[in-house]
Amino acid sequence: MSDPTVARYSKGKRPGFYADPAMDEAMSMIMVLSSEFFVLRERLDTFEAIAAEKGVMLSEEIDSYEPTQELAEQREARKQEFFDRLFFVANKRAAELASQDSSGRYAAALSTIAEE
């Protein structure tokens, strides 16, 4: 027998707060991500606190730590890749403009591909 599962959604239509339902979704996503940000931040706090209890003053060492050139480059690359993902839609829009892709071309494909 599989483990019992609990209900994850409440019964009762969820109200919308914004003119565009996508905004309601986005607000929820932002708060979920904010929550995960603090989950991670607190895991780090805990890590430092436990190390300190064992006599390793990580937070002081962290504050005075100078990254090596290799680490500095890794960090910068990671951030730039993150921005690429964060601005995915804007980047795709620019790429479409550059390649002269359009919704007209998409619609044309829909009507012609089936015939070809």
């Binding site: 019992p4 609990v6 994850r8 409440s10 019964k11 914004y18 309601d24 929550s35």
Partner: protein, 409 residues
Amino acid sequence: MLNTFQQERHAMLPETTHDESSRQEFVKSFKQYVQNKMLPNLHPAYSAQVAQFEKEHDRLPKDRREIRKIMVKDPGFRTYASANRISQELQWESVLTSIERQLPELNAKAKKLSAASGAELLIDPNFETPRYITALDIHCMPGGYAGEACEDDVSTGALYDRGVYLYAMGYMGPHNDDLGRSVGNYIKRNLSGFTPTNILDMGCTVGHSTLPFTEAFPEAAITGIDVAAPQLRYAHARAQAMGAEVSFQQRDAAHTGFDDNSFDLIVSHILLHETSGKAMPQIFKECHRILKPGGIMIHADLPPFDHSDLFSEFILDNETYYNNEPFWGPMRDMDQVQLAKDAGFPADQISFDQAPMAILEFAAAEDKGYEEEAVAAVADREFEAGEFAPGGGWEVLIAHKSNEVGGEA
């Protein structure tokens, strides 16, 4: 003032990993932010909207519904209301994850604790859950009060226990028992000479407000009733885990099945607004029937709207629209004093009063996170509609049954 209030652990409370606990703490912090910073922002937003309304209509909005119509379009209100709703969703989700992970263990633990209790746990296999509980999941709590994931389940009880603590941001104390504690204190301080021996707590859920009565009146027999079996199973096990023996029974407050003249004190805590237009008057009648002559009923809930502050009424009514509380607004349009009269309580024996919050006691007891300054800030603040818990005290409706046997008003 920083709120670092912490719920006290007991054997039935679901365990949490570091990350689950962080997620739950995040919700508590978020709710505090919504209350402290986002809620007050609504005042300037309302002023601007109402000025525009007055210009267009040459009058002020006439009731809370008209205010809602103009406010739902306000960007500031949208942010507030949406944040409030999301905090509620994150709250349940953050607790559900931990419960699902350990559900079979939790149910087994509840069974074991219950078996060790000397008090009765009565679950009625033929019980019909009222529609006002099943139509919508109240507070957006997935599964609702009565939802069961499997046989002999306690999951929604566990969800309620931890969820309410987060919802209340710890204002109800390390055991979520401020309401029961406050009502108990109120009786001892204001109804001198009244020492109940047989107490009934209606709509007790997991027994948060029931257990303080074992402390206030150690000689009394105490029974908690509720319509939701998982809440009662959890309540019974939780009480045992906390060293209290209280009988928990599945019964409908409107039709309890108890004999006439059974109790000398009947209490309820935030129950009435979760019932219905027909159930509430019937509950008053049932209280009168099962109270002994001279007995007292005390309902700690909210008084009717007096229409002196329409904006506050609109804010309070958000619960009706955004938190699956269908009876929250309509209940406050009903005349509870008249309902008590109709139930047979003598007119001069019915009144509203305030039972001061017991939260200061938690600082005195040095409960975790209940620093004196933080606790005083909760107790002393000026209440603003939309906040959790009043500053001064909980509203209570009190009615004494006539002393004369069979004396109906």
